[in-house]
Amino acid sequence: MKIKLSFRASIITLFIVVFGLSSYVLNNFFTHQQENTALAFDNIQFDESLIQLEFSTEADSIRAHRLINRYRQSLASIKLNMNETKIYSSTLLLMILVATIAVFMTLFNLIIRPFNRMISATESIKQGDFDINLPERGFKEILHLNKSFNQMSTELALTQKKLIETEKLIIWKEISRMLAHEIKNPLTPINLSIQRLEEKYITNQEDLLRIFPEAAETIHQEIRNLQNLARSFSDFARINEPVQSLMKPVESLKEIIKPYRHQYDISLQGDADLEINFDSTHFYQIMTNLVQNSIDACENDCCIKIVFEKIKNKVKISLKDNGSGISEDNLKKIFQPYFSSKAKGTGLGLAVVKRLIDINQAEIFVESEIGSGTEFIIWCLLSNQEE
C-alpha cells in the first residue's frame, strides 16, 4: 500500500528525522569522548599494595594514603559524572527535541492554518457560496493573499448576482415568449371556429347545425391543450423533495410500458431482483417521460429497448430508440427548461426528468445520432445492502 504524506506531515517527519539524527550523532560523539577519558583514567592502575608499604615517616604514609583516597574519589566521581552526563544529556536532548517540535509545529500551524482556511474557502466558492471573508491578519504574504482572496470573492459574488439577474430576465423573456406562443397556438383555431359558427349563424343556419359538432370539438380540443400546458408548468414548479426507498426498477418499468406494448415494440431486459434507492413516484415520472419522448421521436416502426444492469455499486438503465435522433446543437439544450424541438412540446418534459434525476442523486446522459436514434443512460445508486 502506497502511503501519501501530506505536506505538513512530510515536513514534520523530515524535521524530526534530521533533528533526531543530528542530536543522536552529537550525543554519541560527546559520550564517546567521555568514555575515552574514563578509559584513560582506568589505565592509571594504582597498585593498591602501595598503601601497605611502610614509609619512612608518618607524614609520608599519610600523604600516600591521601593520594590513593583522592584517586579513588576521582575515579568514583568520573564514573558518576559519566552516568550523570549520559542520563541528563539524553533527557535534556529529549526535552529539547519535544520543545523544538512543539515550537516548530506551532509555527508551522500558523503558516498552514491560513492555507487550510483558503482550501475550505475555495471549496465553498466551488459550491457557490461567495459569502466568504478570510481574516486579514498573519504574516505579510498571507495577509496579502487573504486580502486578494476576499476581493476576488466579493467580485465573484457581484458577478454572480448580475448573472442571476440577467439569467432571470432572459428566462422570463423566454417564458413570456413561449407562453404567448403556446397560448396563441390554440387561440387561433378557437377563434376561427367561433368566427365560422358566427358566420353560419348569420348566413346559413342549417349549415350551422352541421358544422357545430366539429367546431365545438375543435374548441374543446384546444381548451384541453391549454389545460395540459397549464398542468405541465404547474408540475414543473411543484417537484417535491424525494422520498427515497428501496424499489425494483423492473416492476415500475413493466407498469409504464404496459399501455404502449400492444402498439409499439418495447423490450425490457435486466435482473428482476435488482433494487435501487429512488423515489418511486419520481422514477415513474422519469421513465414515463423518456418512453413518451422516444415514441414521439419515432416516425414509424417504433422500437424501444430498455436494458438495466448492475455495474460496481451502481445500476445503469439504458433506454434506446430508433427515432429520428437529436442534432448535436439540440443535444446540448435538451435538458434546459422550455426548450423543445417538437412542434407541440412545452419544453418541460426533459427539464423535469433532469431535475428529478438530480434530486435523487442519480445521473443522466444522452447519446444520439441523426437518423439512427437516441439512447438515454441513467446511473442510480444500488440499495445499501448491495453496496
Binding site: Q73, L75, S77, L80, N83, L93, M95
Partner: protein
C-alpha cells in the same frame, strides 16, 4: 499521589531519553518475591534487592565515602498511611585493610566483610519484623532508595538514584490476601 505521578513522569522521560540518545542502561533494581507473615500483632517481611548494585557501584563504594541504602515500610489503612518505618543499610570501604563495613540499622549490627560479592549479598537482604495489629493494616509498601553521596575532595554531591534510573524498587503487600506486586 502527586509524588508517585511525578516519579512516573520523571522515570518515563528519563527512560525515553535514554532509549533515544544513550547506551546507558543503569540498574533495574527490584525486590524478589517476598516471604511475608502476618500474625495477630506481628509482621515479618523477608526479601532481597536484585540487580541494584551492578555496573559502577564497586568504584563508587571504593571511594571510601559512606553509601546509604534507605528502606521505607509504609503501613496503610483505607488508603491513608498509618505508620512509616525507615531504616537503612550503609557501607564504608576501608582502604587500609581492603574491607567493607556494613551497617544494618534494623538489626543494629555492624559487619566487616572482605569479599565484595559477600558484601552485596548481605547488603541486599531485607529481613524485618515489627509489631502492629493486623486489623490496623490493609496494605504494606516497601520501597528502597539510595541516599545522595558527597565526595568531599571534589566538593560535589551526586544523586545516586540516577544509578537506578530514578526508579525506587517497590513491593506492595495486601495484608488480607498476602497478594504482592513487584
Amino acid at each position: 499521589m502527586f509524588n508517585v505521578l511525578a516519579d512516573k513522569i520523571i522515570f518515563g522521560v528519563v527512560s525515553a531519553g535514554m532509549i533515544l540518545f544513550s547506551s546507558f542502561q543503569g540498574n533495574k533494581a527490584t525486590f524478589t518475591s517476598p516471604e511475608f507473615v502476618a500474625n495477630q500483632n506481628r509482621f515479618y517481611i523477608s526479601t532481597t534487592l536484585e540487580n541494584a548494585f551492578e555496573n559502577d557501584f564497586e568504584d563508587i563504594i571504593r571511594s571510601g565515602e559512606e553509601i546509604f541504602i534507605d528502606f521505607e515500610i509504609k503501613l496503610e489503612k483505607n488508603s491513608s498511611v498509618s505508620k512509616s518505618i525507615i531504616f537503612s543499610h550503609s557501607i564504608i570501604y576501608n582502604a587500609m585493610d581492603h574491607s567493607y563495613t556494613l551497617k544494618l540499622e534494623e538489626h543494629e549490627s555492624e559487619q566487616h566483610i572482605f569479599e565484595y560479592s559477600d558484601l552485596l549479598h548481605r547488603l541486599s537482604i531485607i529481613d524485618y519484623s515489627f509489631e502492629e495489629y493486623v486489623q490496623e493494616v490493609n496494605t504494606i509498601t516497601l520501597t528502597a532508595s539510595i541516599r545522595n553521596v558527597n565526595l568531599p575532595s571534589l566538593n560535589k554531591q551526586y544523586d545516586m538514584m540516577m544509578l537506578w534510573n530514578f526508579r525506587k524498587p517497590k513491593i506492595v503487600l495486601n495484608v488480607t490476601d498476602y497478594k504482592n506486586e513487584n
